[in-house]
Symmetry: none
Subunit: 297 residues, 2 copies
């Protein structure tokens, strides 16, 4: 069996020329190298070197071993270096799953300071999961899940990262725009625009309309927040989004936010993690930075 030491020895000897020097470079005695190679030779049934006077010349077999040494040793050294970084907590991969459409805007504000602080962390954001965000966490397809529903399961933890109020968005000239708040019946004649997910996962349905058995005149779905708000701004419908997001867009678009019900709808966003990961430094740091970028942002 060709072992790593054999590769190192052959590489060093052909780099430095003599066994003695190679032995020094490897912090071993000349005797050790001699014995090691001798044993290898007897195992493989070949000679590694032939002696030409007092220099060693690699045989054909020796050349093959040197060649494999030059190809594989650097790879081993590279992974050892990589793993050292992982051990120090400096490197790793953080794949974030998003189960909350509007949170994408918020995530972007978290990501840039994070990447600055952790340049060696591989960050990735995923938005579609074959077996739901929870399944993705369990099957290690993602490492963190941004979600409004903290479905507690053994082996997972959730940490709240920010609170916001869900509001109705209308054009600023809309009939409802001047009300201090709206009631479910107010939407009976409106076109409601939402993200394309099941209605059970849309709070405007599950927490506002459904309890009063109301439904909008029409329900349209749109993938992206930008287009959604463009539609609202061109009076093609109303939507329900986080208040902070509406406030941000209202600087450039003629839109307005209205409370949903007298008390409004309060939402909380969590980050779910596998319990075994919470101690990892670069993951903790992500939670920290995420928490700091809460509503006020």
């Amino acid at each position: 069996m060709i072992e790593r030491t054999h590769l190192s020895i052959i590489r060093e000897v052909s780099r430095l020329g003599t066994l003695t020097e190679a032995a020094n470079a490897l912090f071993l005695t000349q005797s050790a190298l001699s014995h090691a190679i001798k044993k290898l030779e007897s195992q493989l049934g070949i000679k590694v070197w032939s002696k030409e006077g007092r220099n060693l010349r690699l045989t054909q077999a020796g050349e093959h071993i040197l060649s494999v040494a030059n190809r594989t040793l650097p790879q081993l050294e590279h992974t050892e270096h990589l793993i050292e970084q992982i051990a120090k907590g400096k490197r790793g991969s953080l794949r974030i799953g998003m189960e909350c459409h509007p949170c994408y805007q918020w995530l972007l504000t978290v990501v840039s300071p994070y990447l600055e602080q952790w340049p060696d962390v591989d960050l990735d954001v995923k938005q579609r999961f074959q077996f739901g965000g929870l399944g993705a966490l369990f099957s290690h397809d993602i490492d963190a899940l941004v979600t409004p529903d903290p479905l507690f399961k053994k082996g997972l933890t959730y940490l709240p990262v920010f609170d916001y109020e869900l509001v109705l968005v209308t054009h600023e000239d809309h009939i409802l725009a001047d009300k201090p708040f709206i009631v479910p019946q107010d939407l009976n004649n409106e076109i409601l625009i939402t993200y394309p997910v099941e209605t059970e996962r849309l709070d405007i349905f599950s927490q506002f309309l459904a309890p009063q058995q109301c439904s909008p005149y029409k329900h349209k779905t749109i993938e992206t927040t930008d287009i959604m708000l463009q539609m609202v701004a061109s009076k093609r419908g109303v939507s329900a989004l986080p208040a902070w997001l509406v406030e941000q867009y209202s600087k450039t678009l003629p839109i307005k936010a209205i409370k949903l019900g007298k008390k409004g709808i309060a939402k909380q966003i969590f980050i779910g993690l596998r319990e075994s990961d919470v101690t990892i430094e670069y993951i903790q740091s992500f939670i920290d930075i995420a928490s700091k970028h809460s509503t006020t942002q």
Copy 2:
């Protein structure tokens, strides 16, 4: 230090699923593997596996080690095999990569006299490469590359082995069958059958149709030459193949070869080698035999 045993252990465990089975495969006890990995983990300061119930799941660090194992162990095993052959006084192994579909038929005619002359050379033919034929040559996954594109790189040499003419193949009753040669426009209403590779790598496209901005009525792809010619023989389309190949098949199938353009399309096939290998006797001999089996065959 990551040793070869660690690589083997991690590879076998991820192949077989359990430490116990891996231990059997490696002719060691389960305890030995457990101790070995434990020691590695303490040296590197990381975990290789995390236990999920009773299964082991590789950590990120573990994945890196597995990846380096899959890259380096086969190389070590191959050189050991090579050296074993050298020790026995036999020659070695010749792994040929093919980047040229129809050349397979030609290769078969080369292989049999070669094997007769070199009974102890282990011959292997590979047709799929993760990083292209060139990458396979450099990473020692193959020893020789049969290709129409001699992409010169430092450390490689190419030797031309045979020339042939690329021709159109049609049914012998086809409308085009009586022409002395065809022009690109003649294919506008034809179904063209080719091997399933990128059109840039198909000479009928890159050297014949594309310069005149022509394209066939339809483009179908088929893996094997036999089936391809069966299709042509049953009037389901036309194809482009080496003249010598068509000539051979035309003895048994109602097909005919037609020149592509007035001058025809001349092709040249090369064998690429690592420069360090060109002096090896059994490789030189392969080139010799290959060159002798050129067009006339």
